[in-house]
């Protein structure tokens, strides 16, 4: 099942794609579901692949010898709006966190620090350039952080555009940013942020963190989603330092950027959806870019040593019993540097076989069932919290109850714990819950931000 293709570039990790599906359809059946597990290992010159816990963030930090590793550039954007002064420890924590992240930047990696308010200001090195990391520049950068003071508004689109200009100034293969904000994007119109995201999408990846509880979850997760990065809450500013270091370690572990998932489907087929389903749910369906006859590319961003799962759902034209069709060819492709044909890193086949064996056609693949459940879990949480905010308590109770049930069934313990801070669980098996009267803002926001986190199938 796994199709391994050795990359011509020795610094690119090896990709494998494994397909899990029940290929059997009843007579007249059209819908084909498959989970494609993509794993990349062993790129660069570093040590063994990092171990990954179940459902953990796809990080995959690896130890490169100083001065080695893929060429990379990273920009850290720190919110310096007026609200960062309350509580006063917030600005200090943000400064310390940024310093910790700078310490984690590998020698030779280009970097810059940007202060974000209603405008974006270069803090280090300045002059529209990036610095190259070494002991001296890291020290200078940390020194420059002392200048960071809170004051002004929030216009995140301007920060993103400055980060884009800085990152574009460097000839590197991996471009990444880290964004920290504590408040709403109040000083520009939503369209302006949208336009900035459209301009930056595909040019660099960006991990986003909301600190405190005065920021908008959808805004921050939306930025991370558009720029193919992670989003999370750091409710207590004292947690920032550890989080920033971890985020930078993950960024330093990336080995290849701009990987696309290419999906070929046969003539007459309709793509119902293409979703990343692990480590978190991300619907990619609308991000398709045509790539030749009956094929389209979906962006997946940059990869270190990590594994992700994708759920592909295709409707094909039915054929007769006993017939077999290729319903989809899923490949991981890397654009070539010289504009030629992209390099295929790995591929897997999604098949359709029509049978009159009912036992075969009604079987549900465990992986497909599991991730269908995880996607429903994320949706139930989001809809439940939405209903709760809108005062529709019956609907909120029903949705969050269903979420508790799904989290328990699938063994998604982290999400179950977060849910238990928002509802009192009466019976998790039936999804019977009562809404809690008093819920911490931080708990509600944590649940919403992490609603898309999934766990893998228990083997």
């Amino acid at each position: 099942m796994a199709v391994l293709s050795k990359s011509e570039n020795p610094n690119i990790p090896q990709f494998t794609a494994e397909v899990y599906q029940n290929e059997y359809l009843p007579e007249g059946g059209r819908e084909v579901n498959a989970i494609v597990t993509v794993t990349s290992t062993g790129g660069g010159t570093g040590g063994p692949p990092a171990k990954q816990g179940e459902g953990s963030e796809a990080s995959g930090a690896r130890a490169y010898a100083p001065g080695h590793g893929p060429s990379a550039a990273v920009v850290i954007m720190v919110d310096c709006s007026g609200s960062m002064e309350y509580p006063p420890t917030k600005m200090r924590n943000a400064r310390d966190a940024t310093a910790a992240a700078i310490d984690t930047i590998r020698d030779g990696v280009s970097f810059a620090v940007v202060a974000g308010t209603h405008k974006a200001v270069e803090v280090y090195p300045g002059g529209g350039r990036l610095a190259v990391a070494d002991a001296a520049t890291r020290g200078q950068a940390k020194e420059a952080l002392r200048k960071l003071t809170a004051g002004g508004g929030t216009a995140i689109g301007t920060w993103l555009r400055l980060a884009d200009r800085l990152l574009a100034s460097s000839e590197v293969s991996i471009r990444h940013a880290i964004l920290l904000t504590d408040g709403r994007n109040e000083h520009e119109k939503p369209e302006e942020l949208r336009a900035a995201l459209d301009a930056c999408a595909g040019r660099y990846t960006c991990d986003c963190r909301g600190v405190g509880t005065d920021w908008e979850v959808k805004e921050v997760t939306g930025i991370a989603s558009a720029l193919l990065g992670t989003a999370d809450i750091v409710a207590d500013p004292s947690g920032l330092e550890g989080d920033f270091r971890q985020m930078m370690e993950a960024a330093m572990g990336k080995e290849v950027a701009d990987v696309s998932l290419r999906l070929w489907t046969p003539q007459g087929a309709e793509i119902k959806f293409v979703k990343q389903v692990a480590p978190s749910v991300e619907d990619l369906t609308t991000r398709r870019v045509d790539a030749g006859p009956r094929a389209g590319d979906y962006p997946t961003g940059s990869w270190g040593d990590e594994s992700r799962d994708y759920h592909v759902c295709v409707e094909v034209q039915p054929a007769g019993v006993g017939q077999e069709m290729l319903a989809g060819r899923v490949s991981l492709v890397l654009p070539s540097a010289d504009g030629g044909a992209p390099e295929v890193l790995s591929q897997g086949l999604v098949r359709a076989v029509w049978t009159d064996d009912m036992a075969a056609s009604t079987r549900i693949n465990p992986q497909v069932a599991h991730y269908t459940g995880q996607a429903e879990l994320a949706q139930a949480i989001q809809q439940g919290l939405e209903a709760r905010k809108a005062g529709d308590l019956d609907s909120a109770t029903a949705k969050l109850g269903r979420a508790v049930q799904l989290a328990a069934e699938s063994g998604n313990a982290d999400t179950a714990k977060l849910l238990a801070k928002v509802v009192d669980v009466v019976d998790e098996a039936t999804g019977t819950v009562r809404l809690k009267k008093n819920v911490d803002d931080a708990d509600e926001m944590t649940l919403e931000t992490r609603s898309t986190k999934t766990v893998r199938v228990k083997k």
Binding site: P266, Q267, A269, P293, A319, G322, Q323, E324, T355
Partner: protein
């Protein structure tokens, strides 16, 4: 008529009668350029679903079985609906309605319906012209699917025929299954006394197991090899059959090693039936519900007989006196097999038996894909052509045709051994 000598896709050497490349599966009869108006080929006229005629058989693109295909397996031509610029359709022999009867065998070249040998004319290797047999538009990708409509292209095992001097066999995918999980292996051995022995092994992959097609192919080849070696060195036939059953069992068990497929599915498994003729003796061996039948030439003088006893739920019920044969076979569990080769088998209980027919006739060795349409020995005898002993390949084709006409619900494999071995 121009003939390709090498495959335009992979440069594999071709025989003049090849319609598909034996190496990469390229359809050698396909139009050179995509023809959008090309009608879907109705290559298999029995296909109930008219949308896509079932593809004619062709070599499988992947050769990862690690097993040689039967030595003289031939690839049948396709139906007349598809234009064949490179290979002329084989002339249909008079009086035979089944288009399959136009299929060729390579040797011996004594059948009246084989195409005369012609020297292939040298031809410029053309651009890959592997048009899809389903839509006629797309070319075929490296995995054996159409890059336009996605339809799987014919595979080597969809239909295989083999004819040796003393035994012939045909296997066919049938009409309702997407791949052929049956397999056969034929061989001949020279006994120490200088006489010849015919060997036929037929296996039916258990479809609820993983890689049933690998199981049946592996088992049939292992058994055939073992029988040939044992008989050649003078081992008594029933002992040789025992050894062959054990060798087949071990070969299927060994497929489990390195099997990375879903642990939920069963280990590779298949049924087994074999018949060998040595002098006056006819010896059979079996596990599962594949069968051997004795069909005498003169049905007035001798009765046709089934030589094997199924390892099946129905057979057990009848044997135990719990149900009548009629009642047992009407039950939906009737065909559940109680014995098979494979790592999941509780214990191997191979059966062997020897017979000394005193009249000439044939042995039919087959999978349930045939006997579901002619269950009793009498029913089977009724559809065996009178000249079966002298034209065993023709008989095997005819019996496959009977199963296809009946609905072809399963894969069908039929081997025919004339008795006594006349050489």
């Amino acid at each position: 008529m121009p003939q390709l000598t090498v495959c335009p896709s992979c440069a594999e050497r071709l025989e003049p009668e090849d319609r598909f490349c034996g190496n990469c599966g390229t359809n050698l009869a396909a139009p050179l350029s995509p023809a959008p108006s090309f009608a879907p080929a109705a290559a298999r006229d029995r296909t109930e679903d008219g949308d896509y005629g079932l593809a004619p058989p062709v070599a499988e693109a992947d050769g990862d079985y690690g097993l040689a295909p039967p030595t003289r397996a031939t690839i049948p031509g396709q139906g007349s609906a598809q234009a064949a610029p490179f290979a002329a359709p084989a002339p249909a022999p008079a009086g035979i309605a089944d288009p399959r009867e136009t299929l060729l065998t390579t040797e011996p070249d004594t059948e009246p319906d084989t195409e005369p040998d012609t020297e292939p004319e040298p031809a410029e290797p053309a651009k890959p012209a592997a048009a899809c047999v389903a839509c006629g538009i797309g070319s075929v990708d490296g995995d054996g699917y159409c890059e336009h409509c996605g339809h799987a292209q014919p595979r080597r095992r969809d239909h295989i025929e083999q004819e040796l001097a003393l035994v012939s066999a045909v296997t066919d995918r049938g009409l309702r299954h997407h791949r052929n999980e049956d397999a056969f292996a034929l061989a001949e051995a020279t006994l120490p006394d200088g006489t010849s022995a015919a060997i036929a092994v037929v296996c039916d992959g258990v479809s609820s197991s993983s890689r049933p097609d690998d199981a049946s192919e592996t088992a049939s080849v292992a058994a055939s090899d073992t029988l040939r070696a044992a008989l050649s060195s003078g081992t008594e036939a029933r002992q040789a059959m025992q050894e062959a059953l054990l060798a087949a069992s071990e070969s299927v068990n060994s497929l489990v090693e390195g099997d990375t497929s879903d642990p939920e599915t069963n280990a590779p498994a298949c049924t087994f039936v074999s018949a060998v003729t040595t002098g006056e003796l006819l010896t059979v061996g079996w596990v599962g519900d594949s069968r051997a039948y004795w069909i005498p030439d003169d049905r007035a003088a001798d009765n046709p007989a089934r030589l094997t006893e199924d390892d099946s739920w129905a057979a057990r019920m009848v044997e135990a006196g719990l149900l009548s044969e009629e009642e047992a076979y009407a039950d939906e569990r009737a065909h559940a097999i109680t014995g098979w080769l494979g790592a999941d088998a509780v214990e191997l209980d191979p059966h062997t038996a020897s017979f000394e027919p005193d009249l000439p006739g044939i042995v039919v060795v087959c999978t349930d894909g045939l006997w579901n349409y002619a269950e009793s020995a009498a029913e089977l005898a009724a559809v065996v052509p009178p000249d079966a002993r002298t034209r065993p390949l023709h008989c095997a084709r005819t019996l496959v045709g009977v199963a296809l006409d009946g609905g072809g619900h399963d894969n069908i494999t039929v081997a025919v051994i004339p008795f006594p071995a006349s050489s």
